[in-house]
Subunit: 304 residues, 2 copies
């Protein structure tokens, strides 16, 4: 029940090429699917990666450039034909929500599921929460309003030690309270501290997504301490000037952010079509940060 993974559906930039699809990822959290960005062709990649439309419940769009959202109308239309019921929430940049809603509403008039539109404030904040997961948005630094997202598992409950509960004859009705941190008083009036009954919970895992952005230390601050960071690495070192000009990062810059933020793993992607060998980017990033995973279409990365 602790499944938490990221699927890469597209890790190219701007233009779909023979090598890469435009940006799209799907976070699979305990069998609920949450999409991050939705470039053209996302629906086809979902099918290829055997990610079920019926499990998709949230979509988060980082910014209103076509390579991050042009797949959305087609995805929803196809889902409507599959007669997926229920509810889907589209989290869209506040400034572009209206135009996207008008377009989708025109083409997807009678979907068998409800579509809810929620604006993402450019300043970020908590945008999604359930009993086990939260999603925060935070500002990125691109050519137009753009936010990154952090998916955080909520703290988990500790494991109960059956042998100790047994030893102190703790009644079943009290076990819930002990899981929440209560001590236990025996019939003799002895207080047994909670720590005797529990083992520490599994650590809660977090994943941050940063695309598109120029290198900015405020990004490192925002994603500080996450376990896995996806940071765009559109260009190689020799294109650092273009990176700055177009509001993008180099692989080395992505690695610097990963290091500053103290993350455990860095995934790079959003490759320029001019990058023909991703290994170049990996080599450049590794000069600053060792655990670099190059994104690739079809790749699934387990976070737990």
């Amino acid at each position: 029940m602790s499944k938490f993974s990221v699927n890469i559906l597209g890790c190219g930039s701007a233009v779909p090429t023979a090598m890469h699809q435009p940006s799209c990822q799907v976070v699979d959290f305990r069998d609920r699917l949450m999409m991050i960005d939705c470039g053209e062709g996302a629906q086809t990649m979902m099918r290829r990666m055997k990610l079920k439309f019926s499990r998709l419940c949230e979509v988060f769009v980082s910014h209103m450039h076509g390579d991050h959202c042009f797949g959305l109308p087609g995805l929803l239309s196809t889902m409507a034909l599959h007669e997926k019921g229920g509810h889907i929430t589209l989290h869209l940049p506040a400034e572009g929500l209206g135009v996207m809603r008008n377009y989708i509403s025109y083409f997807c008039r009678d979907t068998p599921f409800d579509i809810e539109y929620r604006p993402i404030p450019p300043s970020g904040g908590l945008i999604y929460e359930d009993h086990a997961l939260s999603v925060e948005a935070f500002p990125l630094y691109h050519r137009l309003p753009c936010t990154g997202f952090i998916f955080r598992e909520k703290p988990k409950q500790p494991h109960l030690r059956g042998d100790v509960l047994e030893f102190f004859k703790v009644p079943l009705s009290m076990r819930g309270a002990i899981k929440q941190g209560a001590d236990f008083t025996t019939d003799d009036g002895v207080v047994v501290p909670n720590s005797r009954f529990v083992l520490p919970p599994e650590p809660s895992v977090s994943y941050a997504y940063c695309s598109d952005t120029m290198m900015d230390s405020r990004v490192a601050k925002a994603v500080e301490g996450v376990d896995v960071l996806y940071h765009e690495a559109t260009y190689s070192n020799d294109m650092a000037t273009q990176a700055r000009e177009y509001g993008h990062s180099t692989a080395l810059q992505a690695a610097k952010i990963a290091k500053m933020a103290g993350v455990k793993k860095l995934i790079i992607g959003h490759y320029s079509k001019r990058i023909t060998n991703v290994q170049t980017l990996v080599d450049e990033a590794k000069k600053e940060f060792d655990m670099v995973i190059p994104a690739n279409e079809g790749l699934k990365i387990d976070l737990l």
Copy 2:
């Protein structure tokens, strides 16, 4: 200089599948490219088929279902990145033009080319004309306003017979008039009829596109006598009820229209995802009409 061909970029219906892309064709007329419908993924197929973005000058959209137009915003965005200059005209169904223009205008703000939006009246009519080609729209019979398109080469000029011109010593300055049909009077006052000087021109070729539509004899009337007809054949015989219900045709019905219209060749396409073997459709169509070409992605059909 008489190149006239149709490229099939997508011939599936509704949903992109592992087998087929949604509807898109490109008419190549003397090196000018004209797109008919633009399903998601059209830009990728253009690149695969080596059809140059810079040569695309007109797009005709038959109706406002997503599988016929969701590729348009991405195509235009990519063309903008390629810095294609000039002008592109989008011919869109009148009722859906506004919503598409709003969406495209939002995402494609600073294209290096002009985008002109021209409404296609649901009743049809002449919608494009240059010195060598005309395009007419005509009503189809689907679930919402939908038009087909006929591409007609204009009548060509006759070939001059050099040997006869020489024999009668026709001056160079008169040759243009003779090409236009003038007779020639010799110095002796003898009138030589025009027919002596010319050979008949190449025949003018026409191509009609009909997707999506239920079988309707008015369609046969509209495309009467065209050389090559593309007519949708979404379903096989055993799904005739669905065809009628969803405003589509079977392969046999497409063949009946081809026969009624007296065309030379029939191209079928817009296959339902439930059609796993297109040969079934071809076999069914051939019961009524012999010259059947099944559309397929990547196929180029010479009309001349």
